[in-house]
Amino acid sequence: MAQERKLKITVDHDVCVGNAMCETFATNTFALNEERQSEAVNPQGDPLAQVLEAADNCPVSAITVEDAETGEKLFP
C-alpha cells in the first residue's frame, strides 16, 4: 500500500552513518546511495506508520518527516 499523504522527508548527510535501518523498516522509501548514505527515493513508497518507524529507528536521528502540503512536523 502506498502512502496517500504527500510527505517531505529529509536525511541529514552530515550525521547519517549508513547503517541502513531506515531502508530495513521502510524498504520502498529509503535507499542507500553510492556513498552508502540514505536518500528518501520515494516519499510515497510506504505507509506513514512505516516511514515513522524508520525515522524512529535511525540511531543518529538523521531523518525528519513533514507533511509536504501543510508543513506539519511528523518526526521528530
Binding site: 550525521v15 552513518v17 549508513g18 547503517n19 541502513a20 529507528n57 535511525c58 540511531p59 543518529v60
Partner: protein, 408 residues
C-alpha cells in the same frame, strides 16, 4: 610507499601514545601491511568510512573464519579455552554478515532508539549522583574503580532485569569479562570463566522470560527466539552482549574523557561556564579525541584495491579509529581537545551496518557523567603523576589501568 615504522604494535611507546605511531602510518603508508601480525593497518578517516560501509567486501565473521591463532599470544595450554571463547563469540551478531546479521540486529535494534534511550536518562542521572556522593564522602576517587566501572554495570543490570541482590555477583563476573580487551597471556582463563558463569547465571533468567516476558532486554531476545531468529544458545550468548560490548567501552569513554579535562583545564572551565549548552558537544569530543575503541578487525571477502594496494581475499584488516579521528584531512587541529568542535564526524562508533548498537545509550551516559562532574567539581586534578598512568596492553581498547583524582 614503504615506511620506516616498526611493526610491533605492543611496545610501551605505542600503547602509551598510539597517536604518534598510527599518525605516522596515516601520513606515510595509510594502507600498511604489518608483516609481524600479518594484517593490513588502515588509518585514514575516509578509508575507514568507505571500508565500514562496504560490508559486502569486508566480512565481520572474523572468529568463525580466521584460523590464525590469537594475538598477542596466549599460553598453549589455553588454546582449548580459546576455542570455547571463540565459539561463544562467533554467536554474537557483531560477528555475523548479512543476511543473518540483519535478522539478528532487527530484533534488538528497536530497544536502542534515541527516543527509548531518553527514557533511561533520569535513571542514569540517579546512579551518577549516588556514585559521586559516595566519592565526595570519601574525599578521593579512582575514576576507573569508583565511577567508570560501576556506572555502566548498574545501568546494564537494570536493563537486563538483573535483581538488585544479584548485582555484586554480576559485578564479579563482569570483572572477569573485562579481560576481553587485554593482552596478558593468561587472559583466556579469566575470560572463559567469566563467560561460563555468565551463561549459568542468565540461563534461568532467559527460561523465565521466554514464558513471562517483561520489558527488559532479555525479554526482547526471548521474543527473537519465539520468532525463530535466535536459537536458545544465541539468546543466552547475546544476553551477555550488553555486559561485554558495553562495559569496557563505556569505562574508557569516561576515564579518557575525565583525563582530557584534567589535561585541558581551559576546556573544563568552558564546559562549566555553559553546561547546558556544552555537555553534548563535550561528550562527542571525548569520543573523538581519545577514543575508547582503537581498532576493529575485518576479513576481505574478495580481492579489494585500496589506494595503491591490493588486499587479497581472506586477508585480515585492522582499521584504526584512533588515527582516523585525528586525521587532519577531516579535523582542524586534530590533536587539540576542543569541546566546541561541531559537527564532529568522528568514527568512534564505527559506521555502516555494524554501527554501534549502544551508541544511543552511551551518549546519554557520557553526557550526564560529564555534566555531573562539571556541576559538582570546580577543578579536577590527577592524584598521581603523568608518568604513573598506564594503559592495558591492548590494540583493541584504549584502557587506562586506573585514574586517581582529586578536586576542589
Amino acid at each position: 610507499m614503504v615506511t620506516a615504522v616498526s611493526d610491533d604494535m605492543f611496545t610501551d611507546e605505542v600503547l602509551n601514545d598510539p597517536y604518534a605511531y598510527y599518525g605516522q602510518l596515516r601520513e606515510e603508508d595509510p594502507v600498511h601491511w604489518n608483516d609481524l601480525y600479518q594484517l593490513w593497518v588502515v588509518t585514514r578517516h575516509d578509508d575507514l568510512v568507505w571500508l565500514t560501509r562496504h560490508n559486502e567486501l569486508f566480512s565481520s565473521a572474523v572468529f568463525k573464519n580466521d584460523p590464525r591463532p590469537p594475538y598477542p599470544t596466549i599460553y598453549d595450554s589455553d588454546l582449548g579455552l580459546y576455542e570455547f571463547v571463540r565459539e561463544y563469540q562467533a554467536r554474537q551478531f557483531i560477528q555475523h554478515d548479512r543476511p543473518v546479521h540483519l535478522d539478528m540486529r532487527k530484533v534488538v535494534h528497536g530497544y536502542f532508539t534515541p527516543r527509548s534511550m531518553e527514557e533511561w536518562r533520569p535513571m542514569v542521572k540517579d546512579v551518577i549522583k549516588d556514585l559521586l556522593d559516595e566519592a565526595e564522602e570519601r574525599g578521593s576517587m579512582d575514576v576507573m574503580r569508583d565511577f567508570a566501572t560501576p556506572l555502566p554495570l548498574l545501568i546494564i543490570a537494570e536493563m537486563m532485569g538483573v535483581p538488585r541482590q544479584d548485582r555484586p555477583y554480576i559485578r564479579e563476573v563482569a570483572e572477569k569479562l573485562l579481560y576481553v580487551g587485554r593482552g596478558e597471556p593468561w587472559r583466556m582463563q579469566n575470560f572463559s570463566e567469566g563467560i561460563r558463569e555468565m551463561i549459568e547465571y542468565v540461563t534461568p533468567l532467559v527460561e523465565k522470560r521466554i514464558v513471562e516476558p517483561e520489558d527488559d532486554f532479555i525479554s526482547v531476545l526471548a521474543q527473537g527466539e519465539r520468532e525463530g531468529v535466535f536459537s536458545r544458545d544465541q539468546v543466552i550468548s547475546n544476553s551477555s552482549l550488553l555486559l561485554l560490548a558495553g562495559h569496557e567501552t563505556t569505562i574508557n569513554l569516561l576515564c579518557n574523557g575525565i583525563l582530557s579535562f584534567i589535561r585541558n583545564p581551559d576546556q573544563y572551565e568552558l564546559l562549566r561556564s555553559d553546561i547546558e549548552g556544552m555537555h553534548v558537544k563535550a561528550n562527542e569530543e571525548c569520543l573523538r579525541h581519545d577514543s575508547s575503541v582503537k581498532s576493529i578487525t575485518r576479513i576481505a571477502s574478495e580481492d579489494v584495491e585500496l589506494r595503491d594496494k591490493v588486499i587479497k581475499k581472506e586477508d585480515r584488516i585492522r582499521w584504526f579509529i584512533s588515527s582516523a579521528n585525528r586525521d587532519p584531512r577531516k579535523f582542524e587541529n586534530p590533536d587539540q581537545f576542543d569541546i566546541t568542535r561541531w559537527p564532529n564526524p568522528h568514527v568512534a562508533f564505527g559506521a555502516g551496518i555494524h554501527h554501534c548498537l549502544g551508541a544511543t545509550l552511551v551518549r546519554v551516559e557520557g553526557q550526564e557523567a560529564f555534566r555531573a562532574f562539571a556541576e559538582r567539581f570546580e577543578s579536577l586534578h590527577l592524584d598521581t603523576t603523568e608518568d604513573q598512568l598506564e594503559y592495558q596492553p591492548s590494540i583493541t581498547f584504549r584502557s587506562l589501568k586506573s585514574l586517581p583524582i582529586t578536586w576542589n
